[in-house]
């Protein structure tokens, strides 16, 4: 088992910690360990260069969060961006939520391509003019300027989480959103920053009895009263906010019975769900645990309808993965626009796609050596048995420091963004 330290090649602060397309797919936001947000914008496709499909270029970069110090506990609060979620566009400006462990911020990203000229009291450089020299009045006019993209923090939602925020989710009413930490979920109104409603609280009266934490949460894409949250014990709870103010009692409880033949010391740890995502249709939820991705039908609570093995060859390595902490890695999963394909990451910079209809799956690699621009990605294969074929890679040569935890899929096209440590890869489906 290899653990080369890829992070030493680049700055640790550049490690990408979240990736998210906006609702049209025109913008792609990434957050990193250093608290920065970088937004890419897709080039407008020009009629002259049809073969050159819209590429993503840097649109805006800003520092979203700074490191803080909790004086009470004598601990640092990391500035690492845990999640970014876009708001649907309602005017010319773009809005997104970004969060670290403790604070959520609403950012407005807007363009400025005109500026006023001809002030009366100031000269062209902005220096104040002597009023005695002003003899005429003029009306300032707007003149075009070079495009400037500015990001401004519009709201800061702070001091509502004792534990680490793992998820944020914008509600379909576009007025509220939720933030979830290990033990609590809070509901916010975008306009109100000094208050939030607590809608889920699983903190036991006696912390000694704590055996389960919240790992991810998301609002239903269409029903603004419904949300789900997953736990470290591999369960998913669906809650209806109309039922009561505090949604400690779930409406639905999704759990798969344990497979006795696969029982081991690590059964609980590998069942911990690291990500939960509603399908675009709102009919299904997808969950990611350490070794599998599962698709659940909201109408069937006792087991998932589909289970996909991401890297089952790691099952015999769980003890080592426990020792080096890799077993605690939190992989995310995503749906494609039509909910027909799901994607998730793995180790060695591999990521996997599963076609739900054809039941075919593919393993691809995001690495510089293997991808030149416009080159077609070659499928990869991990060999588990003794005989290794030429192109295969053996389990023992996998690099466990190269993990793909964050991926994103364009809402309508086959464009994917894959974060491999400090590098972002954008892959597009080849046309003709």
């Amino acid at each position: 088992m290899n653990c080369s330290d890829e992070s030493t090649y680049g700055n640790k602060a550049d490690i990408i910690s979240t990736v998210e397309f906006n609702h049209t797919g025109e913008l792609l936001a990434t957050g990193d360990k250093g608290g920065r947000v970088v937004i890419f914008q897709r080039e407008q496709e020009s009629k002259n260069q049809v073969h050159r499909r819209g590429e993503y270029n840097v649109y805006s970069t800003f520092q979203s969060h700074e490191p803080e110090f909790d004086y009470l506990k004598s601990l640092e609060i990391e500035e690492k961006i845990n999640k970014i979620r876009w708001l649907p566009q309602q005017n010319a400006a773009y809005f997104l939520l970004s969060t670290n462990d403790k604070t959520v911020k609403l950012w407005k990203v807007s363009e400025r391509d005109k500026r006023p000229e001809g002030y009366n009291l100031k000269d062209e450089e902005g220096r104040l003019r002597d009023p005695a020299t002003i003899t005429t009045l003029r009306v300032p006019v707007l003149r075009p300027m070079d495009l400037m993209v500015e990001a401004t923090p519009r709201r800061v939602f702070a001091n509502a989480h004792t534990y680490h925020i793992n998820s944020i989710s914008v509600n379909s009413d576009y007025e509220t959103y939720m933030s979830a930490d290990d033990l609590r979920i809070n509901l916010w109104n975008f306009e109100i920053t000094n208050q939030s409603f607590n809608i889920v609280d699983i903190k036991p009266a006696n912390m000694e009895e704590l055996t389960e934490v919240i790992t991810a949460a998301e609002f239903h894409p269409h029903h603004c009263n419904t949300f789900v949250y997953s736990s470290s014990k591999g369960t998913i709870r669906l809650c209806d906010m109309r039922a009561s103010a505090l949604c400690d009692r779930h409406t639905k409880f999704f759990e798969e019975p344990e497979d006795p033949s696969n029982r081991s010391f690590f059964s609980e740890i590998i069942s911990s769900i690291s990500d939960v995502k509603f399908s675009h249709s709102g009919r299904y939820i997808m969950t990611r645990d350490y070794l599998t991705v599962k698709v659940w039908d909201l109408n069937m609570e006792n087991r998932p309808i589909e289970t996909y093995q991401v890297h089952d060859y790691l099952r015999s390595k769980l003890c080592s993965l426990y020792e080096n902490d890799c077993i605690f890695d939190k992989f995310e999963c995503v749906w494609n626009g039509s909910d027909s394909v799901i994607m998730t990451g793995s180790y060695n910079n591999f990521f996997r796609m599963f076609d739900r209809n054809t039941k075919r799956d593919v393993t691809l690699e995001a690495s510089r050596e293997n991808s030149k621009p416009r080159a077609i990605l070659k499928p990869r294969k991990v060999c588990v048995g003794g005989k290794r074929r030429k192109d295969e890679i053996s389990v023992d040569s996998l690099d466990f420091s190269k993990k793909i935890l964050h991926t994103a899929w364009h809402p309508s096209e086959n464009i994917i963004a894959v974060a491999a440590t400090n590098n972002l890869y954008i892959f597009q489906d080849k046309v003709n």
């Binding site: 088992m1 506990k73 601990l75 680490h164 000694e208 934490v213 790992t215 003890c319 605690f328």
Partner: protein
């Protein structure tokens, strides 16, 4: 870092340890199951105690590791209650885990993994496979070389070792208990009044003095029969207290105190001289009059002692 040096060695034996899922009922593979369980137990403890993050450790990770430890302890407890007498063949493995859990109870919480380096040093067939433990053994040699720890009788290591140090340590515990009033309600009100955002940590810190007191009455029971009484509930309590405290007071690295009980009786005490129980008493005395949450001064001294230990041990 503690596990990295021995990683290769561990990998060599990996297949033997985790190749198949071994059920406890298999006869010949019972030892390897026990071995695997013990290894995982060791790794889990090391994860909780040796972690010294600048930022708050992940609650999810801590809870999962804690659950793992509890499950193993439950299993050991059940096995212990089923078999009051151990067959000689399996004695090394079992008494290893037995004495592992017996030793912690009479001592203060940092000692809960304390017995294990001493014990592991004496179980030669197992030490080769247990890499994390074997690394501890390297340090262990310098600490536990006294004749009080005969390698031939691993099962009897803890009880004879305990009584002499019990005196010095138990007097230290007395001092600590004086600082911690038994009524948790008074603590709750004072702590809650001062820092409400820290409500969680104060709750956990309340558990500690209770835990310390629970441990004391069980000393005599443990001394009696070796395989018999496993004060699992006590040690579980300690474990939980400690793990949650470790989350909240993460700057305290109690791994150094694992060796305390061994050293205070051994001849190599010179290396550990500054960390004697007397010093602990002296440093704790000035805090006795302060109406602060009792765990606080204790922790502050642990930090200082911790620092001294680090310098001495050279980690």
């Amino acid at each position: 870092m503690l596990g990295k040096g021995g990683k290769r060695k561990f990998d060599e034996h990996e297949d033997g340890l985790e190749g198949k899922i071994v059920s406890p009922s298999d006869g010949p593979s019972k030892v390897s199951y026990t071995l695997q369980r013990q290894t995982i137990f060791n790794i889990s403890l090391m994860k909780l105690y040796n972690h010294r993050p600048l930022t708050e450790p992940s609650l999810q990770k801590t809870v999962l590791i804690n659950n793992m430890l509890r499950r193993i302890q439950e299993e050991l407890k059940q096995e212990g209650s089923l078999r009051p007498v151990f067959p000689a063949s399996s004695q090394p493995a079992d008494s290893l885990s037995d004495s592992y859990r017996e030793a912690p109870a009479p001592l203060s919480h940092p000692a809960s993994p304390s017995a294990h380096p001493c014990d592991l040093g004496s179980t030669t067939p197992l030490e080769a496979c247990l890499t994390p433990a074997s690394l501890l053994e390297d340090d262990d040699d310098t600490f536990c070389t006294s004749p009080a720890m005969p390698p031939a009788a691993p099962a009897r290591v803890s009880p004879p070792a305990l009584p002499p140090e019990k005196d010095s340590f138990s007097s230290a515990l007395d001092e600590i208990e004086e600082l911690c009033p038994t009524s948790t309600s008074t603590e709750a009100t004072t702590v809650a009044a001062t820092d409400s955002p820290k409500g969680d940590s104060s709750e956990s810190s309340l558990q500690k003095p209770e835990g310390l007191q629970e441990g004391r009455p069980d000393d005599s029971k443990l001394m009696d029969s070796l395989p018999g009484n496993f004060e699992i509930t006590t040690s579980t309590g300690f474990l939980t207290d400690l793990t949650l405290d470790d989350i909240l007071f993460a700057d305290i690295d109690t791994s150094m105190y694992d060796f305390d009980p061994c050293t205070s009786t051994s001849g190599t005490a010179s290396k550990m001289a500054p960390v004697s129980a007397d010093d602990l008493l002296k440093t704790l005395a000035p805090y006795s009059s302060q109406p602060v949450a009792p765990s606080q001064p204790f922790k502050m001294d642990l930090t200082e002692l911790d620092h001294i230990m680090e310098v001495l041990v050279g980690s």
